[in-house]
Structure formats: C-alpha cells, structure tokens
Symmetry: C2
Subunit: 116 residues, 2 copies
DNA sequence: CAAATGTACATTGACAGGCGATGTATCTTG
DNA sequence: CAAGATACATCGCCTGTCAATGTACATTTG
C-alpha cells in the first residue's frame, strides 16, 4: 500500500457513498472500482470495507437488498438513502474545508520571514 | 470544533513539522498558532499534541532543549532534524497524492452516464 | 493576600477505525 | 478435482485522538 491508511481514515464512508450516488452497487464491485480509479495505489481492505457498510447501514445512509444471482456468489446490493445523500454532501463540505485548512497549515511561505 | 478530528488524523505530525521548518518552537505556541491560522475551527488537543511530539522524537524527526525562562512555566523547545525535514517532504508528497486521489474518487461526474 | 486565570507540560484510560488473518460458499477453468 | 476468482463476513490487534486529570509557576483582580 503506497498511501498511508491514516490518510484514508474517516474518508472511507465518503468514498463509498460517492460511488453509491452514481449507481447502486455491491461491496466487491465498489472495491474494484476504487482500485481501478486509483491505479492500484490504494485499496480498501475487505475488513475496512465491510465495516464501513455496517456503519453506513446503522446510520441509515444506505439500505440493501440481496441480488438474485442465478450463478456465482450472492451479492448484497447497496442503495444510498436520502439521509445518505445529505451525509455525503456534508462529508464533501467538511473534506474540502479540511483540505483547505491543512494545506494552509503546511504551505511553506518561502522567503517570508516571520519575525515579530 | 467544526472540523472532525478524523479529517485531521494522521496529519498532526506533518502539521507540527511544518511549523518547525519555519522556526523552533514549543508545544503550547504551536497549538496557539494552529488555532489562529485555522480561525479556531480546529484545535489540536493537548493529549494529541504531546503524543505527537513523543512520536516525532522517537522517530528522530525532532530534538528538543529546555528553554531558560527566568519567569513563567518552563518550555520545551523543539527543533526539526534533517530526518524530520525528509519526513516532512515525504508527508507532503503523500498528502498531495492522497488528496488528489480522494478528490478523484468523490468527484461527481454529473451528466456522465456510466453504463457499460 | 487569596482566588482566578493563563501559561506550559504530561499521563491515563477509553474509544473508534483500519487491517491482517481467517473462514464461509459458489462458480469457472485447466 | 485443484486452483483461482467472486463475494461476504468476523475476530483481535494496533494506533491516533481525546476527555479527564494532574503538576507548577506567574499574573491579575477583588
């Protein structure tokens, strides 16, 4: 794993919700999509993924139904709820804010002397 | 606090190092600086702060010396080491990468149908 | 002068999220 | 039928954050 998992922490829920706003999906597929989009530089571990789903369910952010696959392993399809959409919007706002803030905190004001 | 601490998690070390690249300082002051820069929207809790210093010390990223204050509480001044500067540079790279990646993952491609 | 407030550092225990390891069941392919 | 892919699930450990609490000294204020 090239991206530290602490960079991910707290953002898994948001990332999952982001996928679910686009279309209903199931855990395994979401994981694959994330791997693809990130060019394998970062992968939600399964334990993390399923833990996140449990959290999201408990929070009322997603609902699920079992797919009726005739073949292959059964799939648990997740659907984002209205609450989930709200939560996602909130997450995104917070995320943007946090990024702006941290960026500000770690930017080097090169050449700027800070004496006073 | 308006910024969730999980958004911060894993970045405290980097934020502290950022301050120390500018000048030597001590815990209390760094905390105040962060509060100021963030307009009080986010504050490192003391336990977090001192925990981070211990980590940074153990990792050889900072060294410290006691200030010789004649008056007031004694201060533990921290200085960033060469290893600390390297670590900081690394953190920043990773941070930028992670931000770019997560942003990509949560961006809504509105109007773009994703059927295939 | 006593109490309150501010400066400054420090530790402890609880909690939560991520993860390695492991387990289940099914289907496909050689 | 063995191996590998698909798919879900849980347990226990580790680590970072935080509330609570404690120390000590200085200044302000009534």
């Amino acid at each position: 794993m090239s991206i530290a998992s602490d960079m991910l922490r707290g953002n898994t829920d948001m990332i999952i919700l982001a996928h679910l706003t686009q279309r209903e999906s199931y855990g395994y597929e979401i994981n694959k999509l994330i791997q693809e989009k990130s060019e394998n530089r970062f992968e939600l571990k399964e334990a993390t993924l399923y833990g996140a789903f449990r959290r999201l369910e408990e929070a009322g952010c997603v609902s699920f139904y079992w797919g009726d696959e005739r073949t292959g392993a059964r799939r648990r399809y997740y659907r984002i709820t209205p609450e989930g959409r709200e939560a996602f919007a909130r997450y995104r706002r917070e995320w943007a804010e946090a990024v702006a803030l941290i960026t500000k905190l770690i930017v080097q004001e090169n050449g700027l002397k800070e004496e006073r």
